[in-house]
């Protein structure tokens, strides 16, 4: 048993829920349910770019999977399988055990099997590819929004950005607000149940990974429409309670990524069903604006006057 195969067997081979063939061959083999398509997403997480080098490996393991499950949820699909490719500077079994514990904690929480992957030597880098099932033709794309649709966001976007600002020493959060925002950053909760439940309700959907206004811009562009966000409707209060730096709060909510909340459009007829869904999932759903003809994303005050916006989101190469 070579070191490479030993580390895979030791840390990453677990019993499967449902795969024709899991790790240990040239490929994994899976069979989607009849009448279903596969939704597929790949994300690469690089030390120093996506996470601080001293991030708790257990939380990193959780997050590496969670951000991909969020992409699957954002299609209205149900996550089923995942592959993990890992580049490591050296073998550190304590680090790997903690990373695997967090990864499988997330996998077990959302019913996902690790079916294969790769390990190699190099700068710390994780590449996760996740697979979800969605009934044929029912994937919720970014391009389906219609004029008059409401714009909705789940949960409390902006917390992860405040958590990062705190870790970087740019703001100072206290007590439970600190823990809550750092947890949002390091252990985000992909909205898996919500994503699947929005089948038949949402016309377009994306997860907020790069920033609320930037990601809304992707829906607007793909749908060939404009988006108007009502500043007063945004969920400001919990962020202002957590942080006294008003500019940091505005940047966090409008342009902060990394919360992995779902941002979606739905026609007004869906309002009652969305209220009931919010209750059932114990998850806030906030209507923050509406889709219009035109293009771009505008932020307006209660009188409808356009407000200036600084940053709209994150670009790795900006």
């Amino acid at each position: 048993m070579t070191p490479e195969f030993d580390l895979i067997r030791r840390h990453f081979v677990r019993p499967m829920r449902a795969a024709a063939l899991g790790p240990g061959d040239d490929c994994a083999v899976v069979a989607p349910s009849p009448g279903h398509e596969l939704a597929i997403t790949s994300d690469m997480l690089v030390a120093g770019t996506h996470f601080l080098p001293d991030t708790d490996p257990r939380r990193l393991g959780w997050k590496a999977l969670a951000v991909n499950l969020s992409d699957v949820a954002a299609m209205g699909a149900v996550p089923r399988w995942v592959t993990l490719a890992l580049s490591l500077p050296q073998i550190d079994h304590d680090w790997l055990a903690a990373f695997a514990a967090g990864f499988f904690d997330c996998a077990d929480t959302f019913g996902v099997d690790l079916i294969g992957g790769d390990t190699t030597r190099g700068p710390l880098n994780l590449c996760v590819t996740a697979f979800g099932e969605v009934a044929a033709g029912r994937a919720i794309r970014r391009s389906g929004a219609r004029v008059g649709d409401g714009i909705w966001v789940s949960g409390q976007p902006g917390r992860a950005a405040l958590g990062l600002a705190d870790l970087l020493g740019k703001v100072r959060l206290h007590g439970s607000a600190h823990d809550d925002c750092v947890a949002a950053l390091e252990q985000p909760q992909p909205r898996v149940a919500l994503g699947a439940a929005l089948q038949g309700l949402a016309t377009a959907m994306i997860d907020v990974s790069d920033g609320l206004l930037a990601d809304l811009g992707h829906i607007a562009h793909a749908s060939g429409l404009g988006a108007v966000v009502d500043d007063a409707a945004l969920p400001w209060a919990p962020l202002h309670a957590a942080c006294t730096d008003g500019k940091a709060v505005r940047d966090a909510l409008l342009a902060g990524g990394d919360d992995y909340e779902l941002l979606f459009c739905a026609p007004p007829e869906a309002d009652d069903a969305l209220a009931a869904l919010s209750m059932r999932l114990a998850l806030p759903l906030t209507r923050i604006g509406a889709m219009q003809s035109g293009d771009g994303v505008r932020l307006v005050d209660a009188a409808g006057a356009e407000l200036p916006v600084g940053r709209r989101g994150y670009d790795h190469f900006a």
Copy 2:
């Protein structure tokens, strides 16, 4: 248009052959043919570990895809789709254009669609996940070899290892042998047509990526058998003609990876069909030994006496 999205659109978005939804949403969406399963493989290629930093980007683009298509072929599956995650130290459009040209050259050669992926900033690292289709229950695993099966290898393994030894200044290859061995290293030909054609003939299969004897060891272990390789049956002549260093030649053929030839087992009844297949594909298929009860991999001379073996293959963490 941000730089990140611009570079994806500029270099990596091409028309699809067959995917329900390609790049540009949270997930790609694909539908396998009725009655088929998906064979899935992920490989990570790291600068300095898997390729020399000054490797021609066009050849690197080809190879990043080719090594994954080889894994799909080694299941007897037909490659259909691929995702690409790319970490780049900076945006170099000339490098990206050449990389994409090589990647799509390979994709077009083998009929594969790039359906999604990710780009980010960090040390140069490529992660490719490839998807193939195989009739349900027909994937050719490593574990299916039976006592008495012949052991076969395609093409000319060992060339890539000699090419690498030449680039590293350890041996000196001349003229067409040099070009041929460096091409085997930098632009390997995944045996896609052969893999699918071995449905119904091969009982077990793997691609030679880590080394002939090491990879044969995986088949032996998974099948619960031993493997005996007949030294005299191995295709030595072309390598000796290319390189006067006898030890380098032995290491290259027995322990060299990176050729991505297929190594498979087949019962003696398949011999005629394999000869016909070799003719049809214009690809040598060489019977190099047989499976026996027991375990491990032994190399024997014409009299059946065991020969010593130095290296058997590559381990990233050895």
